[in-house]
């Protein structure tokens, strides 16, 4: 497992997590400052999942994301400028400003959309996986969803069909312990979503979602299995979101304690990975600093790009509702 993992891979994993963290911190600020409209569901705390899984996917592989989708988009190759532009609702955004945070997508990067509908992703990923098998490509479709989403019928139907047809599909459950403000123990009778895999006839695995190498190895096995035509896997990553359900401070409801949040922060995926990489000499303090500096540079550029970009106009409103033109 993780045989001959190169230093480049390790450095990339680290940079990916840092880029997500910094992007989200900045997006959160911009939202609270009223610069970004709408609702942002931020990914801070869960970075190891997106980074560890996406390391095994190419642009050709597809993902479906969730309302908490920025991290997936970044790990799948999303650039900051069109991302920020989308969050600002500008015409230069990934979706021309029409989708926003909850619908951010890019087909060229294999991103079949964030999703405003909880549980919206799994059936679509299953369909993409069906297509991959039908077209005899070696593409894999990965669907990300939360513990909350695992209670939607859509997840269960997609899981059943993916196993039935032995599709190249990986179900990645990001169990951050809550669906909105409801604790997992109050929304399902199982404690591990992975337990449900058995009922569909696919393997279920639980990994520490705060450990990027654990996610990396487990995802590698699941994605390899899918690519080899051996069928789907349900991979549950135990993780935690540091921010509120929406925004940074959110609605200010008390549904968890500061101690609980702090205990998870103690196990922060980025900090602990940095400690190991330093110990092994893969990175130096200086190099780590540079990673943050580069991310901040990207943010500066991205925000400037977004702010200077034009808003879409009235003509754009009725465009893209239908495909118009010659049939492909």
């Amino acid at each position: 497992m993780a045989k001959n993992i190169t230093n480049k891979t390790l450095i990339d994993l680290h940079a990916c997590m840092v880029r997500i963290r910094r992007f989200e911190e900045e997006a959160g600020k911009l939202m609270e400052d009223g610069k970004i409209p709408g609702a942002l569901h931020l990914y801070v705390g869960q970075e190891a999942v997106a980074a560890g899984v996406m390391a095994h996917l190419s642009n050709k592989d597809q993902i479906t994301s969730t309302h908490r989708g920025h991290g997936h988009v970044i790990a799948k190759g999303g650039q900051f400028s069109p991302m920020f532009a989308e969050l600002y609702g500008k015409s230069t955004g990934y979706c021309k400003g029409k989708g926003g945070s909850m619908h951010i997508s890019n087909m060229a990067l294999g991103i079949l959309g964030a999703n405003g509908i909880v549980g919206g992703g799994p059936p679509i990923a299953m369909g993409a996986a069906f297509s991959n098998k039908f077209r005899k490509t070696k593409q894999v479709a990965v669907t990300f969803f939360g513990d909350g989403a695992s209670n939607e019928g859509s997840f269960h139907e997609a899981a059943n069909m993916a196993a039935l047809y032995q599709l190249p599909c990986v179900f990645v459950c990001e169990n951050n312990g809550f669906g909105e403000y409801t604790r997992q123990t109050n929304h399902q009778a199982v404690t591990d979503v992975a337990d449900r895999a058995a009922g569909y006839g696919m393997p279920g695995v639980v990994v520490d979602g705060m450990d990027v190498m654990a996610v990396y190895e487990a995802a590698e096995a699941a994605i390899k299995r899918a690519r080899a035509g051996d069928g789907p896997t349900l991979l549950e990553c135990k993780t935690y979101r540091y921010y509120d359900h929406v925004g940074v401070r959110g609605m200010g409801l008390t549904y968890r304690t500061d101690e609980e949040v702090d205990a998870w922060k103690q196990r922060d995926a980025i900090n602990s990975f940095e400690a190991v990489l330093l110990k092994q000499g893969v990175l130096t303090a200086k190099k780590i600093e540079n990673v943050y500096a580069r991310a901040d540079e990207e943010i500066k550029e991205g925000v400037a790009f977004a702010e200077s970009s034009p808003f879409p106009t009235e003509e754009d409103l009725l465009e893209d509702v239908y495909f118009v033109g010659a049939t492909s």
């Binding site: 497992m1 993780a2 045989k3 993992i5 123990t185 199982v190 404690t191 591990d192 992975a194 337990d195 895999a197 058995a198 393997p203 279920g204 695995v205 639980v206 990994v207 450990d211 190498m213 654990a214 990396y216 190895e217 487990a218 096995a221 699941a222 299995r225 896997t233 549950e236 135990k238 205990a263 190991v276 110990k279 092994q280």
Partner: protein, 329 residues
């Protein structure tokens, strides 16, 4: 009366071996059901006091809630470490040692038992397997295991007459806390703990085994298929891996065969020191546990200072001979 300890590990039976080893996920409802049956068995054999680990998924708590408990039977929940990690088990073991537990039911795999023994080294255990890749815990019906728990806790069957002390490996890591293994300690070329399981034979450097079981899967079988060492033998086995030696075709994991290059094998006496040096990752009882830095020294030794393991068949046989479950009308 002495108490029965109950420990159920919510995390066992869910690791990456489900994928690599084609095993099914071991769901927590089944663990709960096992606890229920064991508790019912123990009460039937006369147990009235239970002390249990508050696991992060509430397995034991829920099992009790779902069981009809006769009057006079008491359950005590131990305060949890709250870490939802192996630390929960270690801390629970330390507390059970203080609580006068005659015998403890441990549900999990080798790793769970190892964690428990780290907290209480000479505990008396009934260990049931809830996984696939286990050597230390046994596969047995929980009702029977429960009966044995009750018989030992009540003193109807003397613990020392049916339990035997297991071997273990003590591992001293320079500048760090001591660790232990119940079956094997493996030095690997890995750089990370990652998803923990050992599945790539090319990463193996050397291994020290208390038990080399040919009738098992995992590292123990690598030794077992070359030079078997049983639980009864008062010695262990040291193996090195690498080119030039013999090639062994063995089950590295459940349903997963690999060709492994075996270098030297030698028997090691009790308390004979086996040394190793970082950089490496050390895997204990089949799971990568610690990253060893370059130049960091490791010393390992085998002994029979391990936990006491209750022989279920022997316990029930004694109960039968003494007609413990027989009522005359």
């Amino acid at each position: 009366m002495q108490a029965v300890g109950l420990v159920a590990n919510p995390a066992s039976g869910k690791d990456i071996r489900r994928l690599a080893g084609k095993a099914s996920v071991f769901d927590n409802r089944e663990k709960l059901a096992i606890v229920r049956r064991a508790v019912i068995g123990a009460i039937a054999a006369g147990a009235t006091r239970f002390v249990y680990m508050s696991d992060s998924h509430g397995i034991v708590k829920q099992a009790i809630a779902e069981t009809t408990i006769p009057r006079g039977v008491r359950f005590e929940a131990l305060p949890s470490s709250g870490t939802a990690s192996a630390m929960d088990t270690i801390v629970a073991a330390e507390q059970m040692a203080q609580k006068d537990c005659a015998v403890v039911l441990v549900l999990g795999g080798d790793g769970t038992n190892r964690a428990f023994v780290r907290g209480w080294q000479d505990a008396t255990l009934v260990s049931l397997s809830t996984g696939t890749n286990n050597v230390f815990p046994v596969m047995a019906e929980a009702t029977v295991a429960g009966m044995a728990l009750g018989l030992v806790a009540t003193g109807k069957v003397a613990s020392r007459s049916v339990a035997s002390q297991a071997k273990l490996i003590e591992i001293d890591i320079e500048d760090e806390e001591q660790d232990i293994a119940l079956i094997d300690a493996v030095i690997t070329r890995d750089a990370f703990i990652g998803a923990k399981a050992l599945v790539d034979p090319s990463q193996l450097k050397e291994a020290l085994l208390c038990r080399a079981e040919p009738a098992a899967v995992g590292i123990t079988s690598l030794g077992g298929l070359v030079r078997p060492v049983s639980d009864q033998d008062d010695f262990g086995l040291h193996l090195t891996f690498g080119e030039g030696g013999r090639q062994l075709f063995a089950p590295m994991g459940p349903g997963m065969f690999s060709t492994v290059n075996i270098g030297k094998t030698r028997l090691v006496k009790f308390d004979q020191v086996v040394r190793a040096l970082g950089p490496s990752v050390i895997a204990l009882d089949g799971e990568r546990e610690r990253v060893i830095a370059t130049g960091q020294r490791i010393e390992m030794r085998i002994s029979r200072r391990g936990p006491w393991v209750v022989d279920l068949a022997a316990t029930l046989l004694r109960a039968a001979k003494r007609k413990i479950f027989l009522r005359t009308m």
